[in-house]
């Protein structure tokens, strides 16, 4: 143990050097950005885009790391328990933040994180098959009231944000529809086109492409109107109190110091204004939606609360009960 002394000394030295620097925190080692989904997916793309655009602003490497599993909860759990030093961030704002913890027990909650920045917002578009007669929300509600439980909606998986959006909507509209989960949004869209389900949720880009081909009706977005498909009404327009979106942003463990969060927020905000970010975001339908860390937190909390309310009031009965 003869190396203990110099090590201690070094530690003390480091502490004295670090102390005055704390006023203006500057990262000294690589920052890990944890993605709870497999490489190549939407969340991963956003993470890699913001990381590559922000790299110029940072003196240390930004490393994107995939920890896929359990609808992103595996990664969320990991970051919630990580050292709150600003060196471990999570891409959050979607299913793992606003949806899953309301459906089942998780090892974390929104309280375990603090927002750093919201990067983008993705509208969710409710669609039906062309020629099904369900060409508007009114038509869907009417059909569902006529034959409760007969209409089926497809989701990207149980407890995911698509599932939650339908639970909130059916609860608001006072209707009963059957939930058929798929392994992701794409198989659900395929099932809709094949006529195996009556309704599902897609991204604005998907909705636009399929609408142009005349295969689907986009009946409503689940928040406000989307710029990409301005003719599609929002559920709020139609008088339903539904405001859910698939957001993507960065969060840090809850106890991360203010100056660290401020530093990160400023740098990422600058990155979002860079040309590299805007060009790619623009051409690839990533709708930038900058929000400060605190506002991002509020947005997540309000969405999460609306899901929790709907579930408490008996929304999505069948699945909610069985999941307990």
């Amino acid at each position: 143990m003869n190396f203990a002394k110099p090590a201690l000394l070094a530690l003390g030295l480091a502490a004295t050097i670090a102390a005055p620097a704390a006023a203006q925190w500057v990262p000294e080692k690589p920052i890990r950005i944890i993605v709870g989904f497999a490489p190549g997916g939407g969340t991963d793309q956003t993470a890699r885009l913001i990381a590559s655009a922000a790299q110029e602003q940072f003196p240390v490497p930004l490393v994107v790391e995939n920890r896929p599993g359990a609808s992103g909860t595996l990664a969320a759990e990991m970051v919630a328990a990580a050292e709150p030093d600003g060196y471990t961030l999570l891409v959050a704002g979607g299913s793992e933040s606003t949806s899953v913890p309301n459906h089942m027990e998780t090892q974390y909650s929104l309280d375990d994180f603090r927002g750093v920045v919201r990067v983008n917002r993705e509208h969710m578009v409710m669609v039906t098959k062309k020629g099904s007669g369900l060409d508007s929300v009114d038509a869907v509600v009417e059909a569902a009231k006529e034959k409760p439980g007969e209409l089926a909606y497809g989701s990207s998986g149980p407890a995911g944000i698509l599932h939650s959006a339908f639970i909130v909507f059916t609860q608001e509209a006072g209707i009963d529809m059957t939930h058929v989960p798929y392994q992701g949004g794409s198989p659900a869209l395929a099932a809709l086109l094949g006529g195996h389900i009556d309704m599902t949720i897609v991204t604005p880009a998907q909705a636009k492409a399929q609408m142009e081909a005349g295969t689907i009706n986009a009946v409503a977005t689940t928040s406000d109107r989307s710029e990409e498909i301005p003719d599609v009404p929002s559920l709020t327009d139609l008088g339903y109190d539904v405001n859910l979106e698939n957001m993507k942003g960065l969060v840090a463990p809850a106890d991360t110091p203010d100056e660290v969060v401020k530093y990160l927020q400023d740098k990422f905000a600058q990155a979002m204004e860079s040309e590299a970010f805007t060009t790619v975001a623009d051409r690839s339908n990533i709708a930038p939606g900058y929000l400060s860390g605190a506002d991002f937190e509020d947005a997540m909390r309000s969405m999460s609360d609306s899901v929790a309310n709907a579930l408490e009031n008996g929304g999505g009965d069948d699945s909610a009960e069985a999941a307990q």
Partner: protein
Amino acid sequence: MDPMLLALTGLTEPLTLLTLLLSVTIGLIIGAIPGLSVNIAVALAVPLTIFMPTNQAMVMLIGLYGSGIFGGSVSAILLNAPGTPASAATIFDGYPMAQRGLATKALRLSLVASLFGSVFSIALLILLAPQLADFALGFGPVEIASLLFFTFLVIGILSGTSLVKGLFSASIGMVLATVGSDPMLGTPRFTFGSTSLMDGLTYVPLLVGLFAVAEIIEEAARKFSQQTRKFDLSSEDATANRLSLGEIGRCVMPMTRASAIGSCIGILPGIGATIASFLAYADAKRAAGKSGTFGKGDPRGVAVSESANNAVVGATFIPTLALGIPGDAVTAILLGALVLQGVTPGPLIFINSPDVVYTIYFALLASTLLMGLIGYPAVRVLAQTLRIPKIYLMPCVAVICVAGSYVARNNILDVFVMLGAGVLGFVFNRTGVPVAPLLIAFIITPPFEEAVRQALTRSRGSFEPFLTNPVTLSLAAVVVGVVALSMFRRREARTAQ
């Protein structure tokens, strides 16, 4: 300019060609490493493509995808460790061939079969994409469930000689497949409170364990005595390893059937190349009847497995391009990359961005061709691996297996699964229990359960759709026909005695 010409000129740019060459080579290598699958390679390449021109980006990703599947057969044949899950069925005859000193031949045949399957499905893609995609949409939960049940019965042939042992193995596979979240409700099953188990056990570590690790333990138990048996290439019988046109000719029919099976499976959602190659293998084994030496090094076994899994590659592009809905995990990543390029995938891609469609066609064809050009001379070099004494080779394989299993999900649990599967595989081998039924049951159970329960949710618990569905009924008729035929044959054989 004509979009086809535009795509062609874009593709012949030196930088694009160089990208293609590199990505095909890297794909082959990554494919050959057990545990590292093409999915990871393609996904990791996406961020590199963000700032590339579209044709270069597509060429890079497609090059990795196509050649990776062939690469998987290399380690399957040489090391008994499939490089990609899709090459699992290649082991059955590829490894015995290599053990008999026919490694080069098996690899050459695998290459020819891969080319055959790729070209077959690319031709279907170019000629019939919209029609086939519409056909595939008609396959709902009821049809998929029936098809998977049928597949399971057909593959049952692989269970080997003892039905009891086969069923035992399959039931273990089925139980292992139930670990994780319930597909309909999300309720955790057998996870013991661990979030790491919520997605269940994954296929790659299980596969690597059952084959590669089991083989390593087996060799260790034999004290690596195989080093006395020399796989010297100079002593490898060059004439026996030559692949004659006649031999390829004998494989053409089985390969065509296998490619057709692979293409059909490829256009359907959620089934995948692994099941396709098992199904094609079982089909060829059944068709060969007594004339085959399947499982003991029949060249046709390698040919059908590899043509089927490569046929899936082209076929997955059919729904991807015609509907804008990815056919599998890799095409999903590709679509994502296209979106980053500013191309919106959807049914109108043929009208809105025909040059992109042609670029994809040409990239698929060119990467297939290049795979042949690079692969053929590489085969002899690769076969040299077998000259390494097992006492040195096996520890290296073990390290690669551990790394490969971990890297897929960055999850240490997968490494333990791999080790456990290795011990299980070793015990199975020693007690004569076949490993294949376990694997097949493990892959088929989750999509089967999902489809059955989706169908039952939709019908509110009624089995009626299964009894009235034309697909279900015709598949049932085929099963009855096959069973009747085999009973008839058996009786004939008995009377002949």
